[in-house]
Symmetry: C2
Subunit: 192 residues, 2 copies
DNA sequence: GTCTATAGGTGGATAGAC
DNA sequence: GTCTATCCACCTATAGAC
């Protein structure tokens, strides 16, 4: 149920907003900057969105939904092997952060800027994505591939992945897939 | 050389600013909010700091220097064992984030809000702290306790630790030290 | 070192014409 | 669906008295 994003025009604007929110941060991005990037005047923006908050909510919904879709697809291709499923999730996560649109980055780093009502509306979407992670972590735990508390392991892995946004250069020598594999290798060195 | 923080009064104000910056974020924290928290009027703030940027720089310098000091002390107590040294670093890091003041959180999460000149002035301090991490990681790698690229492993571990700020509840059942141990356990399961 | 008062600017958002 | 024009709240920073 996509209540927030309706028209194709709105979706296009949402995509542009995501880019600016990543570059400047939500608070520093003004409606005038958004409008200019979209090729319209600031007043026109409010024909598509009630207020600036609603733009953020639209971006975050888009980003999380997209991450969920990509993760689901990746898991289908990964088959049943817990090792390859975990690796697939890590790769999918970095794909949404770097090679895909920027909306997921906004969802992760600007979540706190959502007002309470938007947060309530979107939290189940975020929870669904995290539940997918815990599921795959559980499989790896049961298979004895990794060790620790399911909850904590999920948080640590997601933290390590999310923080790459702060230092990883996509233009460098390593691909996002490389990164994902290195992380999996770090917590699961021997694959007997 | 602490050029930025001079008077004790200034240090006290810096501590209060750190708290607000963590709660609200730098951009959303107004000089009026800062002044009120400090029990003065907003105009008086500029007797202590040239502008809002300088407050941020003071907080970040304080936070990073503090993290460096605490890490050094922890390593002295940890002795020579690579395992306990790595654990000591992880515990020290979470200590600066949760049980110590909030300044290190600001240093990590608001670094991008520094203007270029302040960033240039503070980056060597941040680099010194990260170099300490890489050093300890190197020891653990050489001892065969962990595996992977020294650079990537450092980033992943720091990312996992930093992201705890977004989900960990210090009022809950687990202590920061618990968290640190669980992370070390995740990447180094067998501790003979 | 703190106050009052205020300058000077920019922010989000609205109204109504086209 | 976009424009122009504009309101006004709030923000950073300054000046000068105490």
């Amino acid at each position: 149920m996509n209540v927030i994003n309706a028209s194709p025009r709105r979706k296009e604007l949402t995509r542009l907003a995501a880019q600016l929110f990543v570059q400047e941060g939500f608070d520093r991005t003004t409606v005038r900057m958004l409008a200019q990037e979209m090729g319209i005047k600031s007043g026109s923006l409010f024909h598509h969105f009630r207020d600036k908050q609603e733009i953020l909510a639209a971006v975050i919904e888009e980003g999380t939904q997209n991450a969920l879709n990509i993760a689901h697809r990746a898991l289908e291709l990964a088959g049943d092997d817990p090792d390859s499923r975990l690796r697939a999730m890590a790769r999918a996560h970095l794909e949404t952060l770097f090679t895909d649109r920027n909306a997921h980055v906004v969802a992760l780093f600007e979540w706190r800027r959502l007002d309470p009502s938007a947060r309530a509306h979107l939290s189940h979407l975020r929870d669904a994505y995290e539940a997918l992670w815990v599921e795959v972590i559980d499989e790896a735990l049961e298979a004895g591939l990794i060790h620790g508390d399911r909850f904590l392991v999920s948080r640590f892995i997601l933290g390590a992945l999310n923080w790459t946004v702060r230092w990883y250069d996509p233009g460098g020598s390593r691909s996002p897939d490389d990164l994902a594999d290195e992380l999996v290798f770090m917590i699961m060195p021997k694959t007997p």
